[in-house]
């Protein structure tokens, strides 16, 4: 399974990850990604039939919280790091479209 990651794909994943990207960057990343993905394809050599994914067999026991209300954080503290706030809200530019 060989494949190269073209600049169109790079721009697509950049958009998915909400990363601004220039044409030159897309060009540069495209070459690097192809080499890295090529290297990753080595995993295809491994027979994983009947092998469960590790995420499903994590051995930690249930950690659950009782439904008790704990004190919340101070809003002014929270706002110290916020770029823009207004009337107790965090302010962001217009939101177009959904999700």
């Amino acid at each position: 399974m060989t494949q190269t990651i073209d600049t169109k794909t790079v721009k697509h994943v950049a958009a998915l990850a909400r990363l601004g990207i220039t044409d030159e960057e897309a060009e540069k990343f495209s070459g690097q990604f192809s080499a890295i993905i090529e290297y990753f394809n080595m995993l295809n050599e491994v027979d994983t039939d009947n092998v469960p994914p590790a995420s499903d067999i994590a051995n930690a026991e249930n950690i659950l919280r009782e439904d008790d209300v704990q004190p919340s954080m101070n809003r002014e503290e929270f706002f110290k790091n916020a770029p823009k706030t207004e009337r107790g809200y965090v302010k962001v530019p217009t939101v177009l479209g959904d999700e």
Binding site: I63, R65, M73, V90, K91, V95
Partner: protein, 502 residues
């Protein structure tokens, strides 16, 4: 012209009634927060390094709903991250469940007649699961129910949006059906029943105007008789039964029109414009649906052992359907009557409370509750659970009517008195002198006076206008403040009128 049928599936997002949020200890009562961004912490605002911890109560409530909907509770279920960017989603992902939800494969029976056309073949649509008796109703298959967290609230301003994280992280249960429903009526029936169940279980208030319950409808249409599944659209954020039915009906019509004109339906997400009453496309971005789900590495798989599930099952209350059947047999009510009483748990409980204290037949109790009682609380926009009249008092009142201590109209007066000032019904009867009088001498006096005072009406009656009789009965009730036994009064009235004819 081609006949079409609709294929409808519903998703319900129900906030679960917990004290604290799904993954942190902040209060979940965002609706009563004093100010925006006061029920917040590093976890629910997505601060760097903060980690989620699962709310046990939310898991129990989700399990309770799963059991009520006849689902399989998955002893091993996992949380997953749903990745997308939106300012109401602080972490850039929503913690949800994907491959292994807490509950799967259940069903809910509804009363709306089953469709003539067969259900689509496929997962969860085994015809053998259908309740017996064509036309008696149908079984809606629940595909899954999973836990997730609510988003923050976004207020759109002119050139900006304001974010309030008080709602962020409130536990949600998403309940997804198979596309089993064929009519808007069936969808409404299902939605109404699900809401009632959630309220019965104490999982959700069902107050739709506050947004604690939200529907999404998946809709496609096809010619009747066809078995193909055509492209469907998804209408999001339907916040009322009205929006659900209007939007679904509109979308069905729209799709039929598109096909009739030779067009095609594109798979898309739609919103419902409540003002213009049209569905509108919400997004067209190609990446919009690539949520890149993967197992949440901050939370180990959730393990629900048998014993825990059984202890939750033991908490299941009697559900509307079972209660209805019991009311029919135990109280000899008509199914329709029983269904009305069980539509709300508080109402059913009230009814049973009155019946248990009363010597009158359950049917009489039903007619008083369905009639005067409901009229009163509807007029007052009162919740059944806030009714100030104790079932014992109401039972006494009904019994006094049954044993003719008072008349029906006095009963209404007393009920009003009980609602407004409270008190003991027997005491009120005494104080207001409302006891029914069957004494013929007294009633004869009253009737004679009314006939003497209204010679014109007497003439009209004798000339054949029989409706005057009703008017006269009204006059008697008014004069005696409803105390006169109507049967005695009527007899005497007829007798005196006949005498005058001579």
């Amino acid at each position: 012209m081609t006949q079409y049928e609709a294929i409808i599936g519903l998703e319900i997002h129900a906030e679960m009634l917990t004290n604290s949020k799904m993954f942190c200890g902040c209060s979940a009562a965002y609706a009563s927060a004093p100010e925006p961004n006061t029920y917040i912490c590093p976890v629910c605002t997505g601060l760097p390094g903060a980690m989620p911890v699962v709310n046990k109560k939310a898991v129990e409530l989700a399990t309770l709903v799963g059991l009520a909907l006849n689902c399989t509770i998955n002893e091993h279920n996992t949380f997953a991250r749903k990745n997308y960017y939106y300012p109401d989603l602080p972490k850039g992902y929503q913690i949800s469940q994907y491959e292994l939800p807490i509950a799967s494969k259940g069903y809910l029976d509804i009363d709306t007649p089953s469709p003539l056309a067969p259900l689509p073949k496929g997962e969860g649509n085994d015809d053998s699961l259908r309740p017996a008796g064509e036309g008696s109703g149908m079984r809606v298959t629940i595909r899954r129910a999973h836990i997730e967290e609510d988003t923050a609230k976004l207020a759109h301003e002119k050139n900006s949006a304001l974010v309030d994280f008080n709602r962020a992280g409130v536990p949600l249960l998403e309940i997804v059906t198979e596309p089993d429903m064929r009519t808007v009526e069936a969808a409404l029936d299902y939605a109404t029943k699900i809401r009632a169940i959630l309220r019965y279980l104490g999982v959700n208030t069902g107050d739709m105007e506050t947004g604690v319950l939200r529907f999404e409808a998946n809709i496609s249409v096809r010619p009747v008789g066809s078995e193909e599944l055509r492209t469907r659209t998804e209408i999001k954020n339907l916040n009322s039964f009205r929006a659900l039915t209007r939007a679904s009906a509109y979308e069905i019509e729209r799709q039929i029109k598109v096909y009739e004109n030779g067009g095609i339906i594109v798979q898309e997400t739609l919103g419902w414009d409540d003002v213009r009453e049209v569905t509108v496309s919400q997004r067209g971005k190609e990446d919009a649906h690539d949520y890149r789900y993967f197992p949440e590495p901050d939370l180990p798989p959730l393990r629900l052992d048998r014993a825990w599930i059984e202890s939750i099952r033991a908490q299941l209350p009697e559900l509307p359907e079972a209660k209805t059947q019991r009311f029919v047999t135990q109280f000899e009510l008509k199914e329709k009557e029983a269904r009305f009483l069980t539509s709300e748990k508080a109402l059913a409980d009230y009814f049973e409370g009155v019946v248990s204290k009363s010597k009158s037949p359950a049917k009489t109790v039903h007619s008083w509750i369905a009639g005067e009682f409901m009229r009163y609380i509807n007029d007052a926009s009162m919740d059944v659970k806030d009714v100030p009249v104790a079932p014992e008092s109401f039972a006494k009142l009904i019994d006094m009517i049954t044993d003719k201590t008072i008349g029906a109209s006095a009963g209404k007066t007393i009920l009003t008195e009980l609602f407004t000032n409270g008190g003991d019904p027997a005491q009120i009867v005494k104080e207001k002198n409302l006891a029914q009088v069957s004494d013929e001498g007294f009633i004869l006096e009253v009737v004679t006076k009314i006939l003497n005072d209204n010679p014109k009406e007497v003439e009209q009656y004798l000339a054949g206008k029989e409706t005057i009789l009703q008017w006269m009965m009204g006059q008697i009730a008014r004069t005696t403040k409803g105390k006169a036994d109507p049967n005695v009064a009527r007899e005497l009235l007829l007798k005196l009128l006949e005498e005058r004819r001579k």
